[in-house]
Structures are given as structure tokens and as C-alpha cells.
């Protein structure tokens, strides 16, 4: 039953917030429609109720709202998204309203955009390897179905190209299953959003995509709802329609700024850098919606993108994100300057779920040992490169210089591949072995001798 009650009792407006008085039994979290004197409609959500007063956040901003003539309609439901299989291929606004001039969606059902937490007992462990065709991810930080792996980027770095490459290339080996992309744009530029859309058009993937677009010039507060709309759509596709969904959220930093704006308007005690103390919990309610569920075919894999102010990883947004997500892919400005594409900084990047997704029967038995050795060697090589800049290359031992050369080769051949090469995982692994062949077997401490004998090119050639 949908009871609608109208009030013209707005008492104060400040920033994105509006106070409505003498409301009969307002409910926390429910939504309101706001009719402006000029007849236009805006949307809001109740943030706090006290006796007969309701504090409302207005998604589209409060400009033009007055205290006298504005009418507020209190609906008895939280913010919802009407879903149906027809949402595929459609473009919506940040508030879930179609904006591609297509027909209205006739919903099969309406879902609360806040979703409900997945019972940890019902979760299925993510362990299916996703081949992205990008060596620095497949080889070193493998992504698995149901994982949330953010890209920590910075202004001017090519995160748009990487997310587009992921959306284009990601497949699960040996399986042709229903796949969908959900893209939520929060406060990004028209160009960035259009690049992604065009890329999907070019590959035909647009048919299997759902977009929620809130551009930089669109209302900031709307961004608070945008990822939730996207995830509601993703949950419907994954757990009702059995699809494997890749969700790209771009850019979470803008989302957090919108949240900060609301918090400041409510005069809450700020945490670090003015962000609210509940930022962690709030982000968790978004990120934790990724996953797999026992007994359901579909899955939600999430790739949030965030730009780190001044490339600072300890900034609250990347910091709290890193504590919730299962790893991170960090982009490096210095690699980008060296024209290494994609410029993935592999040392601080990490995929926490890799160990369950790789190995025999999934990728190859040598995968784990191989990436450990590649890491160790690259870390040492980078260290030597630093030393060489201080003391000059001459001060290094022959062994140290070899590691230095390895690091250089590794960046050029392994990490760098461009945005349009789709490298199968076997090719990535073989390339790793080839690079390691500049070391003696005894130096490869992290790899079992048996594996060396089986996969090292010099042994394989002998056999052949």
C-alpha cells in the first residue's frame, strides 16, 4: 500500500539539507518527492527524524526550493530501483531514471537500493580465475570471480583505459557463461564516461551493459545513491538472472566527497581530512555487495576506481578502501612517464584472493611459485636501481647489476603490453620463466627444483 502525505511545512534549508516540520510519523530512511513552486520534482531521503520533524537530504540540490510554497510528499518506502531484464543495454541517471530516450522500464520487481548484507555463512568463496589478458594482473595479482579489486589511480593516469580493457577482455577460462557489465559513473567528466561507452559500443558489449551516469556537472548529492543503484542492478542480474557481473565504479573519491558534504552540512564531528567517522562503514556497505552466494550461479566482481589526491595512498579514501577490498592495483606515475602501459606498480599492488584462484586445474601448477620469485627478483632489482642512482652502477656487484637489468626487462616486456593486447595466461607465465632464465637455478630459491626443471626454457629446450 502506498500512502502519500503532502506537507508544505519546510522550515529551513541549508546546503543539501531541508527540515520539514509537523509531519505525521515520519520514518527514518524513507524517501520524499519535493515539488517546487515551478512544478518540477526533486527527490530526497530522510536522514533523521525527531518527533514530528524530518531532516531530508535533497539529491538534486536545494537551489530554487523555498520555505513557503514547496510541497513535500512523504512516501512510505526507501529508495528503490525497478528492475527487469530490459535494463540491459540501457543508460540511467545517477538516480536510476532512464536518460537514453528509451522507453520506461516496466519493473518485474522493485528493490531497495541499500540492499541487505549477505549472510557470511551463505557466501561462496571466490576461487574462479578470471583471465583479464593483462600480465601484471593475471600473472602477479590474479583476479577471481566475486572479488573486489580497486584501481588506485591519480589524476592524469590511464585508469579509464585499464577499466575499459578489463571490461573488454575479462573471461573465465573454458566457459561461455552469461556476462554483464554494470558501470556507475560518479562525478567523472563527459569525456571519461563517453570513452568507456564508446569502447563498449565498439566491441558490442553495450548490449550486455547497464550504465548509471552522474557526470561532474550533475548534482553531487545524487552520487551517494549512484553506486547503490548500480549494485542493486548488479545483484538482480547476478542472483536472479544467473549472470556474471563486472561492476565498475568510477570514481569513488567523488562519492566520498559527496558524503563529506552531507556530513559537514549536518555539523557532524569530522574524522580525518573532514571525512565522516563512519566512512569505513559506509564504504563497506558498497564494497561488500560483491561476492558469490552458495547455490547461485551468478557472481558480482567489483572494480572500483579511485583517484588518490597527490598519489597519497594514506589519504582516507584509498586507505579505508584498501582495508575493505581484497587487494588493490596501484598505478605508478613514473612507469606511466616511461610509457609503460598499463603502468601497474606491481610491488605495492596485491590480490588477496589469488592463492585460491590459481594453480593446477585453474591456471598452472607453477603459477604461485613463479609470481613469488618474480616479485622477489623485481623488488631486489628496484632496490639496486635506487642504490645505483646514489652510488653509481660501478659500486654494484655483478650479481646486483643482473637484478637491475632484470627489473628493467621485466618492466619493458612483462608489465608493458599496451591496452589492446589480450595475453593468455600461459603466455604470461612462459614470459615470466623466460625473464627468470637470466638467473642460475640456485638463485631461484622460491621455486621448487622440480618446477624449474619442468618449465625453465633451458630445460624444456633440452628435452625438445
Amino acid at each position: 500500500m502506498l500512502t502519500v502525505r503532502e506537507y508544505q511545512t519546510v522550515s529551513s534549508i541549508a546546503g543539501p539539507l531541508m527540515l520539514v516540520e509537523a509531519v505525521d510519523q515520519p520514518k527514518y530512511g524513507y524517501i520524499v518527492d519535493i515539488e517546487l513552486p515551478d512544478g518540477s520534482i526533486r527527490h530526497g531521503q530522510i536522514l533523521q527524524v525527531e518527533k514530528d520533524k524530518a531532516l531530508v537530504q535533497v539529491f538534486e540540490g536545494t537551489s530554487g526550493i523555498d520555505v513557503e510554497k514547496t510541497t513535500v510528499r512523504f512516501l512510505t518506502r526507501p529508495l528503490e530501483f525497478g528492475v527487469s531484464p530490459d535494463i540491459l543495454g540501457r543508460v540511467f541517471s545517477g538516480l536510476g531514471i532512464p536518460k537514453d530516450n528509451g522507453p520506461q522500464i516496466i519493473p518485474v520487481k522493485r528493490l531497495d537500493i541499500n540492499g541487505k548484507p549477505i549472510n557470511p555463512y551463505a557466501r561462496d568463496y571466490p576461487n574462479e580465475f578470471i583471465q583479464t589478458g593483462i600480465s601484471s594482473i593475471d600473472g602477479l595479482n590474479p583476479l577471481v570471480r566475486g572479488q573486489k579489486l580497486p584501481i588506485f589511480s591519480g589524476s592524469g593516469l590511464p585508469h579509464d583505459q585499464i577499466t575499459a580493457q578489463l571490461a573488454r577482455q575479462a573471461t573465465v577460462l573454458g566457459k561461455g557463461e552469461a556476462f554483464a557489465v554494470v558501470f556507475a559513473a560518479m562525478g567523472i567528466t563527459f569525456e571519461a564516461a563517453q570513452f568507456f561507452i564508446d569502447d563498449l559500443h565498439a566491441t558490442g558489449a553495450i548490449e550486455r551493459a547497464v550504465m548509471f551516469i552522474n557526470l561532474a556537472n550533475e548534482p553531487a548529492i545524487e552520487r551517494i545513491a549512484t553506486p547503490r543503484f548500480a549494485l542493486t542492478a548488479a545483484e538482480y542480474l547476478a542472483f536472479d538472472l544467473d549472470m556474471h557481473v563486472l561492476v565498475v565504479l568510477n570514481d569513488m573519491t567523488n562519492y566520498c566527497e559527496a558524503l563529506r558534504e552531507i556530513s559537514a552540512a549536518r555539523k557532524e564531528v569530522p574524522g580525518r581530512r573532514g571525512y565522516p567517522g563512519y566512512l569505513y562503514t559506509d564504504l563497506a556497505t558498497i564494497y561488500e555487495r560483491a561476492g558469490r552466494i552458495k547455490g547461485k550461479k551468478g557472481s558480482i566482481t567489483m572494480v572500483p576506481v579511485l583517484t588518490m589526491p597527490e598519489d597519497d595512498k594514506t589519504h582516507p579514501v584509498p586507505d579505508l578502501t584498501g582495508y575493505i577490498t581484497e587487494g588493490q592495483v596501484i598505478l605508478s606515475r613514473s612507469l606511466h612517464r616511461k610509457s609503460i602501459a598499463p603502468p601497474v606498480d606491481v610491488l605495492p599492488s596485491l590480490s588477496r584472493l589469488k592463492d585460491k584462484g590459481i594453480g593446477e586445474g585453474k591456471t598452472r601448477e607453477d603459477h604461485a611459485a613463479l609470481y613469488n620469485q618474480l616479485y622477489a627478483a623485481y623488488a631486489r632489482g628496484k632496490e639496486m636501481q635506487e642504490l645505483a642512482t646514489i652510488m653509481g652502477e660501478a659500486a654494484l656487484s655483478e650479481e646486483d647489476r643482473r637484478y637491475m637489468a632484470f627489473a628493467d626487462q621485466f618492466e619493458r616486456c612483462y608489465i608493458s603490453q599496451g591496452y589492446y593486447e589480450n595475453r593468455p595466461v600461459e603466455a604470461t607465465l612462459d614470459l615470466g620463466w623466460e625473464l627468470l632464465s637470466m638467473f642460475s637455478d640456485a638463485e631461484l630459491k622460491r621455486i621448487d627444483v622440480k618446477l624449474i626443471e619442468k618449465y625453465m626454457p633451458r630445460f624444456r629446450n633440452k628435452k625438445a
Binding site: 518527533k51 549477505i118 557466501r123 567517522g277 562503514t281 561488500e288 552458495k294 610491488l347 596485491l350
Partner: protein, 593 residues
């Protein structure tokens, strides 16, 4: 029986609800909020107004709806059936909830913590006519093959047993009856309740002096924790806090493990849930799940229940301690608990202290860790039990000056400092050997059955740590003037330190053999690394070129010693013989040159 008070909601702000008409309610009483019957707890009283933290999402409730005071504080149910359970922060069994609600959590469900249908075989251990008092053990239940659940007399019951039965009972059926001095008859069931915010009573506390073995080399050798001790693991994200916690939960030599996933990832709990039933306890060969209790309040579950989850965990741990067991409580992560406190505090409009945390943060953390300890248990027969607490801390940006880290360091005795740089080099566990500490080091020697081995080990750890210290200084010199400028002895020190780091401290949690190392194997491994150092040092002094020594084939065997299975420990001793032979050959060659 107190009559139930009904108040009315006046204000809703996120997880905090303000209700009026609550005169007579007590602090920390559990209330049912609104028409959805949400579970909450009173956290502030002012006149007839009560502030309530609600353990469930509050969307859709509003002023005017009723608030019902249950008159009881937040409690947990204790009895057979705890082991192998997985609970949310307020002890609702998640596996049962899946059956009722499906994969997504809904609101207002009430399910008892312990199964009421399942029958357990109760075996009395005392006879009729025994005088009993709270805490006395009157019987036991074989709960799992690893766990004998002792049934204790619940609080408030004292008298002479007039009936006690051997047989199959559910947790709320009477297993015994007793008569008090004043003639009152009491019924004893296997189920008892205990308020979570109150520590269970003990007779007295003892100094924890027995090492809690973990099978993790860097911990056992350099920074050991004791049965009844406290430890904290702070580190930035990606430094492996959770892997350390999981490793301890798997391999620690405790009788019971209580694992609290407090505001962390859902998939991590799934990992524990899928792994523990498959992993075998190294001592008994039984699945580790048969000694574990899990509490999962993931980051997207309601924040107030997260605040309660650590108390639920410690109360269950204390209950098993009272049976005379050694219990290890892992809490991942206490920062999320502190953040939950902060969020509730902000909504109560309390005056904030540092970083918005409430002023009572340090006091709450201290009193939580103080519930650990080695104790003389309450009741007959005389017995000792212990609870060790291992808390992970997730400081923003890995900054150790964070309030939660500092408040924790004031009370814990062991500090395992995880370092991001070590993690980037894939050195795991990324415990920094230079900044970590343990106040329990002096008990290490007693952890060995062989007394002589214990003393040797103590000596070895001192020598190894000295080398690691020396390495840090030498690295500075190398950075300035290059490795060529070092003497042979110093180059050996660097090389041995590297061997300690890579061949000994580095431990692969995902390798079937390397994941757990017995104390005996730790001793043999470290002894071998140090044996090479001593032999090489003597050789260098006798004129052997250090570079020759570093190239000896035996060094690869030292590096791979960690993969030698427990039952072939002799092979590690053989490495030492090989060291002697190879070094002697070099010395001989140097002499004859």
C-alpha cells in the same frame, strides 16, 4: 518478575534511537525497538529518555513506535553446541538464519544461540548428595571428538544435589536438581546465560608463564606469546594481519579457539568456514573446526552489533576457560570495534577526544584486554584455565601513533609490528624484527621438553637477533660506501642476516609443510643457520675468501630446510655435517694454496 515497560520512539538517527517513557530502565538493558521488533541496547539514560543503540538497520522506523524493555542485559547462551557454531555479533547463529531468511540478512529475527532440539549425552562426574556451588563441575558432554564440554553449576545456585542423571538431554532439560540450605529446590540445566559486558568470576589470577606455541617461526622464536597473554598485530592494509590471525587460529596449541571477525571482509569469514573443517589439528588429526567458535560481524552488517561482537567473543572464551581449558581469542580487527564505538558516540553527541574517538576509548580497550589471563577457576575441582587475546589493529595509513594502536600498546605484552615494506618484498609474515617485542621471552626455554635444547635455543635467538641488529647498521654503511668496503666478517654478518631473514623468518602460510613448524624443527633450523655462520666465521679468520663460502652448495640446502617435513627432521641435522665437510674442504684448500 518485573513488568515490561513500554516507551515510545522520539528520534531516529542512524543506529541510535531515542525513546521516552523509559523510567525505571537500566543501563545496558536489551530492548525491542519499533514495530519491526529490532534488537537494541540502552546506552544512555537521561530522565525518562533512553538512548538506544540498535543492532539492526533502522530504515523505516520512526517516532511514535513502541520500545519494549526486556529487563535483561545483553547476554549470551552458554552450553553444549557452541563449538563449530558461527554467530553474528549478538550470538544469532548465521547458519540457522540462512535457513530462515535466505542468503541476505533481514531484520527482527530471533533465534536462540544454542540449538534447543539437539540432544547431548550428559555423564555426571559427581554423585547424588554432593554439595555444589556456582562453577562446580557436575558432569560432562562429549561435544566433538576434540572437545569435552564440562557442565558447571550456573551462578546463583548452591546446595546439595538430590538428583543427577546420566542420559541424553537437550540444553534446556534438567540434568540435576539440588536443594539449598533454606529448602529451595533448584533445577540445573546445561544451558546458562551470562551478560557479555561483565567478566566471569575467577578465584585469582596468575602470571602467564607457559608459551602458547603457534608454529610460526618469527613468533615462537623471537616474540612468543603465553597462555593467558595478550598480543596486538597492527599494520597497514595488505601487510598480512588477517593471514597472521588465520595462521594462529589454525596452529595455536590451545584447546579452544574463538575467532571474532569484527567489521572485516565477508569473504575472509567464508575462507575460515571453508578451510577449518578441512584442516587437521597437528596434534589430534581431527578437523580444526571441532575446537573453534566463529563470530562474524562483517563490515556491512550493522555497526552496533559490531560493537557487541568482541564482548560476545570474550564471554564465550571465558566460559571455556572456566572449564579449565586454554583458549585463544583472535579479534580481527579491534580498530573496527573502536570505530563502532566512535560512531555510536558521535550519534549520542558526546564530546569527542582524539580523532573523534570517545574519551573512554582507552579504558574500554584496557578492560577488554584485561579479561585475558591465566586464572584459578571458580568452583570445584581445582583447575586452571587461560584466555589469550590476539587483537589485530588497522591504523589509518599504517600510522602507529593512531589512538587505537597507542591505547592497545599500553596494555598488551606482545607487539607484532607488521611493516608494509616487508609485505611489498613478499616477506611474510611481515613482522618487523627490529620494532616488535615480547615480554614473555624469558619463558621460551621452558617451551622445550629437552631442557638443554631450551637453553641452547635461548642462546641462539640472542645471537641471531644481534646479527639482525648488526645488519641494519651495516646496511647504512653499504648505502654510503658500497659493499666492497666491508671486512670479510661484516660481509658474513650481512649474509647470515639475510639467511636468517629468508631461510628462517620467511614462512609460507600456503605451503603444506612450511605453514607449521614445531618447536623442535625451529631449533634445528636456527641451529643450522647459525652453525654455518660460526663455521664460516672461523674459516674467514683462517684466511678463506668469504665469496667462496657464500657459493657453497650446502647453502641451498639450508635455504630449503623449511620444506623438510616434521618426520624427517634428521635431514636438517645432516645439513650441519655437510656444512662441516664443505667448509673444512675450503679451509684445507686455503692452507695448501
Amino acid at each position: 518478575m518485573t513488568e515490561q515497560r513500554v516507551g515510545r520512539i522520539v528520534k531516529v538517527s542512524g543506529p541510535v534511537v531515542l525513546a521516552e517513557g523509559m523510567t525505571g530502565s537500566r543501563m545496558y538493558d536489551v530492548v525491542r525497538v519499533g514495530s519491526l521488533n529490532l534488537i537494541g541496547e540502552i546506552v544512555e539514560l537521561r530522565g525518562d529518555l533512553a538512548s538506544i543503540q540498535v543492532y539492526e538497520e533502522t530504515t523505516g522506523i520512526g517516532p511514535g513506535e513502541p520500545v519494549l524493555d526486556t529487563g535483561a542485559p545483553l547476554s549470551v547462551e552458554l552450553g553444549p553446541g557452541l563449538i563449530e557454531s558461527i554467530y553474528d555479533g549478538i550470538q544469532r547463529p548465521l547458519n540457522v538464519l540462512v535457513g530462515i531468511e535466505g542468503a541476505f540478512m533481514s531484520r527482527g529475527s530471533t533465534v536462540p544461540g544454542l540449538n534447543r532440539e539437539k540432544k547431548w549425552h550428559f555423564t555426571p562426574t559427581v554423585g547424588n548428595g554432593t554439595q555444589v556451588a556456582p562453577g562446580d563441575i557436575i558432569g560432562q558432554v562429549q561435544e566433538t571428538s576434540l572437545m569435552v564440554h564440562k557442565i558447571m553449576v550456573p551462578p546463583g545456585i548452591k546446595g546439595k544435589l538430590i538428583q543427577i542423571d546420566d542420559g541424553d538431554f537437550t540444553v534446556d532439560q534438567p540434568v540435576a536438581k539440588c536443594v539449598g540450605e533454606d529448602g529451595t529446590e533448584y533445577v540445573i540445566t546445561m544451558l546458562q546465560r551470562w551478560p557479555v559486558r561483565l567478566a566471569r568470576p575467577i578465584l585469582g589470577r596468575l602470571t602467564p608463564s607457559r608459551i602458547l606455541r603457534t608454529g610460526q617461526r618469527v613468533i615462537d622464536t623471537f616474540f612468543p606469546i603465553t597462555k593467558g597473554g595478550t598480543a596486538c598485530v597492527p599494520g597497514p592494509f595488505g601487510s598480512g594481519k588477517t593471514v597472521v590471525q588465520h595462521q594462529l587460529a589454525k596452529w595455536v596449541d590451545a584447546d579452544v579457539v574463538v575467532y571474532v571477525g569484527c567489521g572485516e571482509r565477508g569473504n575472509e569469514m567464508t575462507d575460515v568456514l571453508t578451510e577449518f573443517p578441512e584442516l587437521k589439528d597437528p596434534r589430534s588429526g581431527r578437523p580444526l573446526m571441532e575446537r573453534s567458535v566463529l563470530i562474524a560481524n562483517t563490515s556491512n552488517m550493522p555497526v552496533a552489533a559490531r560493537e557487541a561482537s568482541v564482548y560476545t567473543g570474550i564471554t564465550i572464551a571465558e566460559y571455556f576457560r572456566d572449564m579449565g581449558y586454554v583458549v585463544a581469542l583472535m579479534c580481527d580487527s579491534t580498530s573496527r570495534w573502536a570505530e563502532a564505538m566512535r560512531e555510536i558516540s558521535t550519534r549520542l553527541e558526546e564530546m569527542p577526544a582524539e580523532e573523534g574517538y570517545p574519551a573512554y576509548l582507552a579504558a574500554r580497550i584496557a578492560s577488554f584486554y584485561e579479561r585475558a589471563g591465566l586464572v584459578d577457576c571458580f568452583g570445584k575441582p581445582q583447575r586452571q584455565g587461560a584466555v589469550s587475546i590476539i587483537g589485530a589493529v588497522s591504523p589509518p595509513g599504517g600510522d602507529l601513533s593512531d589512538s587505537v594502536v597507542q591505547a592497545t600498546l599500553h596494555v598488551v605484552k606482545v607487539f607484532w609490528s607488521l611493516k608494509g615494506e616487508l609485505a611489498y618484498q613478499r616477506h611474510f609474515p611481515a613482522i618487523d624484527w627490529l620494532t616488535s617485542y615480547s615480554f614473555y621471552k624469558q619463558y621460551l626455554r621452558d617451551a622445550f621438553e629437552d631442557k638443554d635444547q631450551g637453553e641452547q635455543m635461548e642462546q641462539l635467538t640472542v645471537e641471531a637477533m644481534a646479527l639482525l641488529e648488526q645488519e641494519a647498521q651495516l646496511r647504512e654503511i653499504v648505502r654510503l660506501v658500497g659493499a666492497e668496503a666491508l671486512s670479510g666478517q661484516d660481509r658474513l654478518a650481512l649474509e647470515t642476516a639475510r639467511s636468517i631473514r629468508e631461510d628462517y623468518l620467511h614462512q609460507n602460510a600456503f605451503h603444506p609443510v612450511d605453514t607449521y613448524t614445531s618447536m623442535e624443527k625451529q631449533f634445528e633450523m636456527l641451529k643450522t643457520v647459525m652453525h654455518f655462520h660460526k663455521q664460516a666465521l672461523a674459516a674467514i679468520e683462517a684466511g678463506v675468501d668469504p665469496a667462496e663460502l657464500f657459493k657453497l652448495p650446502v647453502r641451498e640446502r639450508i635455504a630449503r630446510a623449511k620444506y623438510i617435513p616434521q618426520d624427517q627432521i634428521d635431514r636438517i641435522r645432516q645439513i650441519r655435517t655437510q656444512i662441516d665437510t664443505e667448509v673444512a674442504a675450503l679451509r684445507h684448500a686455503a692452507l695448501t694454496r
